[in-house]
């Protein structure tokens, strides 16, 4: 157990879920990506990806931008400022938890 177990309480459970963590990590390294790209990169079914994206969108971490590219509708997904800072905070909190563990 960590010396300061309260650090675990700071871990964002919404991001901590493995599939959502994968989605956020993928969106963190790019400016935006569409649904198809995420689906291929993360090897996920459309339904599964869609349900996780909805949760992230509800939390304000992911923004779904509907736009027209060359007169064709295009849906781009991007991490919001809130999402980026939440991910950075998650990284720091996780580091703190592991650094508190006895070697």
């Amino acid at each position: 157990m960590p010396k300061n177990p309260s650090n675990l309480k700071n871990i964002d459970r919404l991001i901590h879920e493995p599939t959502r963590l994968m989605i956020i990590t993928q969106l963190y390294v790019v400016e935006s990506a569409d649904f198809l790209f995420l689906q291929h990169q993360l090897q996920m079914t459309p339904g599964n990806l869609s349900s996780h994206l909805s949760k992230l969108e509800e939390a304000g971490y992911v923004e779904i931008v509907k736009e027209f590219v060359e007169r064709k509708p295009h849906t781009a997904l991007k991490l919001t400022k809130k999402g980026r800072s939440a991910f950075k905070e998650y990284q720091q909190n996780l580091k703190q938890v592991f650094s508190a563990l006895p070697k």
Binding site: Y28, E31, F37, H40, L49, I64, E70, H74, A76
Partner: protein
């Protein structure tokens, strides 16, 4: 999560977007045309066209590449917009190459008046194949490192090996470029075929994905 892991994810994303072989085909065609231009210029006197085409090729190459990406890559694996950091790194590589090119040009210009530069020019002319081979391998490696595309290291190594052979065997320079161009084009087509087979267009899945959002 370590910063290096995020970089790996970024590189993997970049690589997956360039696994279609399109850039290889276009670069290969450019090298092939340049090589053929040099060869035809050696054999005949009226083949300026073969030198002019490679000169204007980059201007045509970029729109063709963008169009091919839209028609072949995006319907299969989707669209991704990369963050500007990668573009800045590429820009730095381009600027570095420009400075190197200008430096070389100035060295050759000085060669007409300065004794030391004349010696340098003679040295360059005598070891031209080695210098070009090393330069090409360095440029390929720089792009391979910046873009995370490992096959560019292989192209660089191939160029270096061929040009080192060329230093010792008297074969026209153009033949080496033609060989390199053909190898890159073939690799590009193999990658493209593999990409098309791996990611067939599934319109139904795409529509479902759009609807589900």
């Amino acid at each position: 999560m370590k910063e290096t892991n995020l970089k790996e994810v970024e590189k993997k994303t970049y690589m997956s977007y360039h696994q279609d072989g399109l850039i290889d085909i276009l670069v290969g065609i450019y090298v092939l045309m340049f090589g053929s231009g040099i060869l035809f210029l050696t054999l005949t006197d009226f083949s300026t066209l073969f030198v002019v085409i490679p000169a204007i090729f980059p201007a045509i190459m970029i729109p063709v590449w963008i169009s091919a990406k839209k028609r072949i890559t995006m319907p299969r694996i989707g669209y991704v917009k990369f963050r500007s950091r990668g573009a800045y790194r590429l820009m730095a590589v381009f600027l570095g190459l420009m400075v190197f090119g200008l430096g070389t040009f100035m060295a050759f210009t000085f060669a007409s008046s300065q004794g030391w530069a004349l010696t340098l020019r003679n040295l360059v002319v005598l070891n031209g194949m080695i210098i070009i081979g090393v330069a090409a391998a360095t440029i390929s490696s720089l792009f391979a490192y910046t873009m995370g595309l490992k096959r560019l290291y292989a192209y660089g190594l191939l160029t270096l090996v061929l040009f080192l052979i060329g230093h010792f065997i008297t074969i026209p320079f153009g033949y080496f470029l033609v060989t390199i161009g053909l190898v890159i084009i073939i690799t590009g087509f193999v990658l493209l075929m593999r990409f098309i087979r791996k990611y067939p267009i599934t319109q139904g899945d795409k529509k479902n994905a759009e609807k589900s959002l």
